[in-house]
């Protein structure tokens, strides 16, 4: 059959963010493809070198519209490592709480998008409705739905009071019910299974070769989670299960993310239970002494990597950011070979794309 090349993107109804693919298609089969990024490249790494450390917290927050908190957490811990200050335990717990809330919000958002792509709008509506419960928590404790501005160098900006904790507890227990309901549907719904099972499975070996991180790696049987393997406090004191699945297809990713949402709900409860008292900030100087630091965190999509070098002034000399979508994108051409044209949306949804992060 004749081979044709179909360009998808940079602007395409299938994509929420600009990404360009050229797919080789023969009949109903996709044979392979190439990728182009950079349509939302904002030069944030370079821009950060012209801002002060304080201003950068807010710049970094805007790398990603979904996992904004984990970026600032990673950045702040890099600065704090060079400064040699340790933030109060209460601040560590609040940072972790926000990270977990963000993971729930991100996974529910993703579940909605996947359901939408396979045509299961009921689940889309339910997942996004439940996500509002998390956003309500975050808005009322931090003041912003997605740009929380929760972190500052030396701690967090807000403290939790009685009222906040009650709101979190009630919303989390509501979410427990909702997520169980959604999981029940996912596990039993034949339409969802028919669309996701066996679609573009990735072997553990390939995952390792492509340095894959996060839920995608875990859905292919690679047991890696930075919260357990390379934790920053308080994760070393918290107990949770790392969810893995051996199949590596879109179905496995759905299950892993859905189960992880439940695990995060438990983590939120544990954090609230163990929340120590005390201050939430320590004073941090504006100028950072010369030094270099590397920090890694487990974002909803996997490992976020920051490298920071300071030269003793109040602006960073180099800030390198690696977001988890970048390795996922490098495996995309591999996944887009030997699938059906109708499965393209499922494959794209399955990797939980965040192009703006990947481009920076």
């Amino acid at each position: 059959m004749r081979k044709i090349t179909v360009p998808i993107g940079p602007q395409h109804p299938l994509l929420k963010e600009p990404l360009s693919m050229k797919l080789e298609i023969s009949g109903e089969r996709v044979l392979g493809g190439t990728l182009r990024l950079g349509y939302v490249h904002r030069g944030i790494e370079k821009l950060a070198q012209q801002r002060t450390y304080v201003q950068n917290v807010h710049l970094i927050e805007r790398i990603c519209g979904i996992c904004s908190h984990v970026h600032t957490t990673t950045y702040c811990s890099a600065v704090e490592a060079i400064l040699g200050i340790e933030i109060p335990p209460r601040a560590q717990y609040i940072r972790a709480l926000m990270c977990e809330l963000e993971r729930i919000h991100s996974h529910l958002l993703w579940l909605g998008i996947l359901a939408k792509h396979v045509g299961l709008d009921t689940i889309f509506m339910h997942a996004w409705h439940d996500r509002e419960l998390v956003l309500d928590i975050m808005e009322s404790i931090s003041g912003g739905r997605v740009s929380h501005a929760a972190n500052e160098i030396g701690g967090v900006r807000f403290d939790l009071d009685e009222e906040n904790e009650t709101l979190i507890r009630t919303n989390i227990s509501k979410l427990h019910d909702q997520v169980s309901g959604v999981l029940d549907v996912i596990e039993n719904e034949p339409a969802l299974q028919a669309r996701t099972r066996g679609v573009a499975p990735i072997s553990t070996d390939l995952i390792r070769q492509y340095c894959m991180v996060g839920p995608i790696a875990r859905a292919s049987g690679l047991d890696v989670d930075l919260r357990r393997d390379d934790p920053w406090p308080p994760y070393d004191r918290l107990d949770f299960n790392v969810i893995t699945h051996p199949d590596g297809d879109a179905w496995a990713r759905t299950i892993v993310r859905a189960e992880e949402t439940r695990e995060s709900l438990h983590l939120c409860e544990a954090i609230l239970r163990d929340l120590p008292g005390g201050d939430v900030t320590v004073r941090a100087p504006r100028k950072v002494p010369a030094g270099e630091a590397v920090t890694r965190s487990e974002a909803p999509r996997g490992e976020v990597f920051y490298y920071l070098r300071s030269d003793g002034s109040d602006q960073p000399a180099r800030l390198k950011i690696r977001t988890p979508t970048l390795p996922a994108l490098s495996l995309l051409p591999e996944q887009l070979s030997a699938i059906n044209v109708a499965d393209i949306p499922v494959v794209l949804a399955g990797i939980d794309l965040c192009i703006a992060c990947a481009d920076r």
Partner: protein, 123 residues
């Protein structure tokens, strides 16, 4: 029965949806309830502000501007359209003069509203 449950796992959710109230808010026809700590429009307490410029120095988005001739003659301006509503100015001000109210900042068609004079002091 098991098979029925598998086939119609969504049924209860669909039936429930007939009886649920809409989740959306009828804004702008109905009032929008925002939480206390929501970072909305920038407000200032003119008695407290001394024109020190700390807020301007730390603003990441160029949302604030200070024209200062002397200690007693300055003008502090806010640009709502450039502002990122990040709350840094509130943190940086040592006198607690500048802060966020929880009022939503609406879009405007009037260019004059894009510059808000927070405090003007003449010598």
């Amino acid at each position: 029965m098991e098979k029925f449950k598998k086939r119609f796992s969504l049924l209860s959710a669909i039936i429930q949806a007939w009886f649920d109230k809409p989740e959306t808010v009828g804004y702008p026809f109905l009032p929008l309830v925002l939480p206390e700590g929501f970072r909305g429009a920038i407000v200032i307490d003119p008695d407290k502000c001394t024109g020190c410029g700390l807020c301007v120095r730390d603003c990441p988005a160029g949302g604030l501007r200070l024209e200062k001739k002397s200690r007693d003659e300055f003008k502090l301006m806010h640009h709502p359209a450039s502002c990122a509503y990040c709350g840094q100015c509130e943190r940086s001000c040592l006198r607690g003069a500048i802060s966020h109210s929880n009022a939503l900042v609406a879009a405007t068609t009037d260019a004059r509203e894009l510059v808000v004079v927070l405090k003007e002091k003449q010598g």
